[in-house]
């Protein structure tokens, strides 16, 4: 079992950071806003040397978390070694504080489907992802955290719940988790489970980051009269997600928390405002802990 090798140099602060997207990159380099850490998607830098040049400058001043969207650890056809080599090259340049990805799949032989697609939860999938996480950690030479997905559908063949699946994956691979609070809320509404009970069943010691992102409600195409929550990352964090975040902090303690906003990107100040709100929520749950900026 591989648990990843190289220790990282700067741990992520236990406060709220911001997803750094290309439109904000030059602004961050020029103004160095008071943000405790940034998260990036390495895939947006792979063919963009100018952005990499700016990213290196960001990494000189901020801890950076690398959140992959194309590694596809759930692919039945194996990992894309070339993609891992390219991600490794970015990682070697900026020495991030954490590297993570998703419990999902997005590649089919010779194709990238540009989405995080669902997996059946059973022992075979645990074995596959466990094996792939080990391979990713070896290829990147550092631990690889995995994040719970947002769901619109599940599989009849699943034999375990999502928290059971994540726990089994942690036991098998030794990996650690990114706990996406908004995904839990969204999936609980879409799939009809209790979000707090889901949180209760997570292996809390394995959680290294919380994520918060926006979603949008629309008519459920599958059920007339019902509402479906769609994971757009294009709106502020919702009140139910903030409540669930407070609940998770009460249960597990404060962790580095990411504000994710990928579409309809607002000014950077809006993202920083959301991060400050996350810090205030954390401080309200754990009095005396006021993250510094």
């Amino acid at each position: 079992m591989s648990t990843g090798g190289q220790p990282t140099t700067r741990p992520l602060p236990a406060s709220a950071g911001v997803g750094l997207r290309l439109p904000h990159l030059a602004e961050v380099v020029a103004t160095r806003p008071p943000v405790p850490w940034f998260e990036i998607h390495p895939e947006t830098f792979l063919a963009n040397p100018h952005a990499v040049e700016l990213l290196v400058q960001v990494a000189e001043h901020y801890p950076v978390s690398v959140h992959t969207v194309g590694v596809s650890i759930g692919s039945a056809h194996g990992l894309d070694r070339d993609h891992l080599r390219r991600v490794r090259a970015i990682i070697d340049l900026i020495n991030p504080s954490a590297v993570s990805g998703h419990v999902a799949w997005s590649t089919h032989p010779g194709e990238y489907l540009n989405d995080l697609l669902p997996l059946p939860y059973d022992e075979a999938t645990v074995a596959l992802l466990g094996d792939h996480i080990g391979q990713v950690q070896d290829a990147l030479d550092r631990p690889y955290l995995v994040e719970n997905p947002s769901s619109y559908v599940g599989f009849l063949g699943s034999t375990m719940s999502e928290p059971e699946f994540l726990s089994a994956l942690v036991r098998r691979s030794g990996c650690q988790l990114v706990c996406d609070i908004s995904n839990i809320h969204l999936s609980s509404r879409n799939m009809g489970f209790d979000a707090r009970r889901y949180v209760d069943e997570l292996p809390g010691d394995a959680i290294r980051e919380f994520h918060l992102g926006g979603y949008e409600a629309e008519d459920d195409p599958a059920t007339p009269g019902a509402t479906l929550l769609v994971d757009t990352h294009g709106t502020p964090v919702s009140d139910p997600a903030w409540d669930l975040y407070a609940y998770a902090i009460r249960r597990f303690g404060i962790r580095p928390t990411l504000i994710e906003w990928d579409n309809e990107l607002p000014p950077l100040a809006t993202l920083i405002g959301e991060a400050r709100r996350a810090d205030r929520v954390a401080a309200s749950v754990v009095p005396g802990n006021v993250p510094a900026h």
Binding site: E43, P49, H50, H77, D115, L119, V153, F155, A222, L228
Partner: protein, 254 residues
Amino acid sequence: MSPLTETQRLVRRAVVLGDTEAARALLVGGEDPTKRLAIHHRHYRASLVRTLLDRFPALTWLVGSEAVTSAAISYVTEHPPITPSLSEFGQSFPTYLAERPGLDALGYLTAFGELEWHVGTVSIAVDVPGLTIESIVAAANQDDATLALQPGVRYVHAAWPVHELMRFFLSGSAPDRYELRREDAWIEVRGARGEFHIHSLDASAWVFRRELQAGKSIASAAEIAADVDAGFDAGAALGRIIAAGLVAAVHSAE
């Protein structure tokens, strides 16, 4: 085929082609989960069409949003991305667009789209300080020395002066009517760090620079350029390249 392999084959079919029915027996989620699976198809299509529209604003300006969007919808179905790096997606889209009924009469469309692709690529390149004549002479004292040009340089040969069309787009000053005459265009696109320039060269200078970029020695590139124009002056051409800061490195043969 493992159960997961078969599941992913069916879900892939739903995501790329919109055929969700074959996955019906696998799914749970609402009264008709195939309609929820279609959300992934919608996202796949919308996000990649947006990627193409963002990458080809000049093509969209030239032939209209409706034509480009319609072609993009078909393109993303027939040509899924091959890597997770979406800035590499769509290089063949201009050719695909130019073959669409109604657009196939526009002989310059592929070249115009390829020029736009190169503009996008060089704009995010990173250049280095250009070498001086002294450092090049010191390093390139062998006949088979080669020059590495700046990373953000591309050479485009088109049968139409598509760079003129691009200038209209970039300046926002297109005339009401413009007759594009077929004539060879030897175009150099150069850029870095968010900026770019488009130059028209004469054929021999273009060939010389392109051959240097391809790794030919100075002597070989000059020979090839002289085949295009017997009066080609390699010394003067090399001087212009150096003065423009185009030479990033010199590689002497071992």
